[in-house]
Symmetry: C2
Subunit: 154 residues, 2 copies
């Protein structure tokens, strides 16, 4: 690879994230926490409109349910990648409980179940509001199962 | 939908994100900014290892290139969704330039081009290191084209 392209890529990453080029373990842990929080903010972004439909605050729209559930279904399988780094030894602003890394297989399995429920919701969107909302409830339950075990309770 | 499930979903969103239930426009804008920043942190997470291969700091691994490029290729098409909310009127900690919302079609087209370059990288990973690194350079160039126009220069 040419030095010009490498310089371009270096500049790109330095302005996007210090994670890759981070000098210290503390910086890497901080970036890991921000990255996984970032992922879940994006999940919430797509979850939100379906939730407002469930609360009947906005009209039901099967196309939006399908599109958003498909996004959630590709985001949730990234959870194992983004939680692979065990940050339990670091002093971070995080609601992630340290037992994630004690029970990582179970944590990852719960993330996988959630992803499957999101795919099921995307499929159910074609079957009308009743089917979609039932599938949405199951997705919410799968999210909650993971939060109850691995996220600080507020 | 039962009240129990609705209560569950409400609790879930309240602990995940204030975005959906946010009372004020300021809060919604803040969440929008954090959410789009979160997306790009996840992109950087998958970009990083390929970058380290390009710098020859870690050994080339075509499987990782393919897997990570596939993740990037599904993340980048979320950019238009996450930047749809025009936050230029708000006082936010952001490097997003206000001309994003003046030239939104061009901004979205550049995001789309980047996504296509990520898909091309995933495909090129099967063709060996040389082809992959060339495709990676093109992805980096597509990222830069958007940053140069729409992101504050540091």
């Amino acid at each position: 690879m040419s030095k010009t392209i490498l310089a371009l890529l270096t500049a790109l990453l330095l302005t996007t994230s210090t994670a890759v080029l981070a000098a210290s373990a503390d910086e890497r842990a901080q970036t890991a926490a921000e990255t996984r929080q970032g992922l879940l903010k994006v999940v919430a972004r797509y979850f939100g409109p379906i939730f407002l439909m469930a609360r009947e605050q906005i009209p039901y729209d099967g196309d939006v349910v399908k599109a958003n559930a498909e996004k959630i279904a590709v985001l949730l399988p990234m959870i194992p990648d983004l939680f692979a780094a065990d940050t339990s030894a670091f002093d971070l602003e995080t609601e992630a409980l340290n037992n994630i890394w004690e029970d990582l297989d179970d944590f990852n399995a719960k993330a996988q179940t959630s992803a499957e429920k999101a795919s099921a919701l995307a499929a159910a969107a074609a079957n009308g509001q009743g089917a979609a909302m039932q599938a949405f409830g199951e997705l919410g339950g799968a999210c909650k199962a993971c939060h109850d075990n691995y996220r600080q309770q507020n």
